[in-house]
Symmetry: C2
Subunit: 208 residues, 2 copies
DNA sequence: GTCTATATCATGATAGAC
DNA sequence: GTCTATCATGATATAGAC
């Protein structure tokens, strides 16, 4: 009980730290984030913060790992199912748009950190268990093309276009809102219908 | 001549500084960049660097201003011409893809810094002279819709989709290369044909 | 304009009491 | 586990000689 309480307290504290760190790293990136700010936001002091995570790097790794999994675990999940192609793409777009709706900062964070250190990322993506393996998807597309059911398009470009249409509006959100004078609620409304619109676009793109 | 030489030397030095700063800020962002590194890269010392740009912020503003102009001046340029809609979109995509090909880091830089400080950006975009005004374009689209020449699509979404397809592959370049195992030359080759592919996609999207 | 040396300050990290 | 106090470093910025 004494021990149990302590463990529980410790877990709670660690959760608070990770959540505070997530928010701040996502918003400001690795170099922009301050350990002091994370400690304040988690309502503890720097000493304790370093007790849980010895270095800023360690804490960052924790946060980035979670974000990485959110971004690529999903992809693997949708892509490695054995749904027929149209349903698979629909599922992919659906899950992605849902995650993005609740994690606005996620893509900018992952993509800019990834840009800051591409080599590390490549190592990571090849070591992680849930690595998105695109071959099954690519083969499926080729089979559909061979059967004449879709247009002859490079499968890599299908993935590229689909992701662009899903993710970019979030990456460039402040830009779009500024140049087109869109309020926050209005933006959210635009994104609600987007799921269907993207699927329709992809469908048109693949029509033979 | 003494004076002329000095002025010229000064200009050369400033150019070297700005170019070095551009490369480093683009790659590492504001907080990731170090004044020491910029000085080294420009082959001068920190003292002289601060002689030309009193603060890191001032230097950053210079660099960001140029990037901003590259990214949005173009947009304004293409959008405020009085070409008919299909040609206008073609021009827009064409110019954009060319700029991106030679400025790979540009969009991640602008977008992530913009995300770091959206308010400042909004102020900037409303004050800068070359501000991209989208109204003429939007009106043009509405006219085309009214005339039944294109499908009834929200003009803001046309812009959003077009930009997504152009810019996102560069923003997510390391990701795409990693998950699809694409080499640098291969990526560049993929991007070469992309201009036409994007235009075709937009065309299909607008077909009544 | 250019350099060296230095001031100043903020930040990540540690030590040690409770 | 949690806190306070402190260290050590590294980064921006300035002063002043040439």
């Amino acid at each position: 009980m004494g021990k149990n309480n302590m463990v529980k307290k410790g877990e709670q504290t660690e959760e608070k730290i990770v959540e505070a760190a997530r928010a701040i790293f996502h918003e400001k990136g690795f170099h922009g984030a301050r350990m002091q700010e994370i400690a304040d936001s988690a309502e503890i002091n720097k000493g304790l913060l370093h007790y849980y995570f010895k270095t800023k790097d360690a804490l960052f790794e924790k946060v980035f790992g979670i974000a990485f999994h959110k971004m690529f675990g999903i992809m693997a999940n949708a892509m490695n199912s054995d749904l027929p192609l149209p349903e698979k793409l629909e599922k992919f777009v659906g899950i992605y748009m849902d995650v993005l709706a609740y994690n606005s900062f996620l893509p900018v964070f992952v993509l800019s950190e990834l840009n800051r250190n591409p080599d590390k990322f490549i190592r990571k993506i090849f070591s992680v268990s849930g690595r998105p393996n695109m071959e099954p998807f690519f083969n499926q597309v080729k089979a559909e093309i061979a059967a004449g059911r879709i247009k002859d398009v490079d499968p890599r470009k299908i993935l590229m276009n689909t992701m662009s249409l899903c993710v970019f509006p979030y990456v460039a959100r402040p830009m779009f809102q500024a140049i087109m004078n869109i309020s926050n609620p209005e933006f959210k409304k635009m994104m609600q219908n987007r799921k269907e619109e993207v699927i329709e676009l992809i469908t048109v793109m693949l029509k033979p």
